[in-house]
Symmetry: C2
Subunit: 157 residues, 2 copies
DNA sequence: CCAATTTGGTTTCTTTAAGCAACTCTATTT
DNA sequence: AAATAGAGTTGCTTAAAGAAACCAAATTGG
């Protein structure tokens, strides 16, 4: 695909997409959140080619999203588990899932993933952007305060 | 890239990624949220090839994420604006940005995008998944209540 | 008014990644 | 000892990404 790399982009979204912004990586993270840990299970549940899975797992490990754990007594049995960095993608994945459920509902009558709070059994409400006092915000409610150029010291122009 | 399509996947994350899950689409949406509307502006700000931009804009319009508005008096001047569906990606983009800022900080001393509430001027706190009563949740705090097969009516087994 | 430029593309070509299938190598099972 | 499973690797084919050139309508500018 001759991708452009965004490793050094000054946009953190671009840098984030560089790590988990391809179709498979985020789905692998999602599967990990569902509890999948083994190579073959990822392969079967995602229907991904083995070489691609291998590549993605390696990259995710390199990027610190997953860690590879040897669970065989003496090698050859591994698990891929989320790191804290990986688990921190939770809001992203959930927000994406909710967006998908809302705007691209399942073809048939599939339920839109009933995700629930383990403690209370209650469903999870939509992920929102909030302000400092907990009110929901939309795109229009935010602004970027005037991008100062990197080398500038608050010149009073 | 010979991608696999996920249009009819029963996973809404997969379906979402099908629409905005490539490197460019989400960046285009992000740029839109920053206010970019014109073809040339997208092209310059993203550094994307024109044919790819064209393709992505078309797909985003097809998918209802953007709408194409004729703003020339009689053609040849267009704007691409977010639809409600597109604006609804706000939490996704912000969550991704925050993840990027946290885990892949900018190479140099770039500031991590100071996004603020227009009303109060306060910075935006991290996007989190909450439960019904507003407490933050992690991956471990949620569960999927036992996937009932699509055609099943609450059998009391 | 005619030339240059801008905007929004399309076409062609090359590079690179995705997907598939077959193969390998070690461990475990039978 | 043979068969199977887990975790990859290799090679090939196809399709998409990227670059650059080209194009046509509309606008700008002298």
């Amino acid at each position: 695909m001759a991708r452009k790399r965004f490793d050094d982009s000054n946009c953190s979204v671009a840098r984030a997409l560089n790590q988990v912004g391809d179709w498979w990586s985020l789905l692998i993270v999602l599967q990990s959140m569902y509890g999948t840990r083994r190579f073959v299970d990822f392969q079967q549940e995602l229907g991904i080619a083995k070489n691609i899975l291998c590549n993605r797992l390696t990259r995710l490990v390199e990027n610190g999203v997953l860690k590879k754990v040897d669970v065989g007594e003496h090698g050859s049995r591994f698990e891929y588990r989320l790191t804290e960095k990986g688990r921190d993608l939770f809001p992203v994945v959930i927000a994406l899932r909710q967006w998908g459920d809302k705007w691209n509902p399942a073809p048939d009558d599939e339920a839109p993933l009933d995700l629930r709070d383990r403690a209370t059994g209650q469903p999870i409400p939509p992920v929102q952007v909030h302000n400092a006092i907990g009110e929901p915000l939309t795109v229009r409610d935010v602004f970027v305060p005037d991008t100062p150029p990197p080398g500038s010291k608050k010149d009073p122009a």
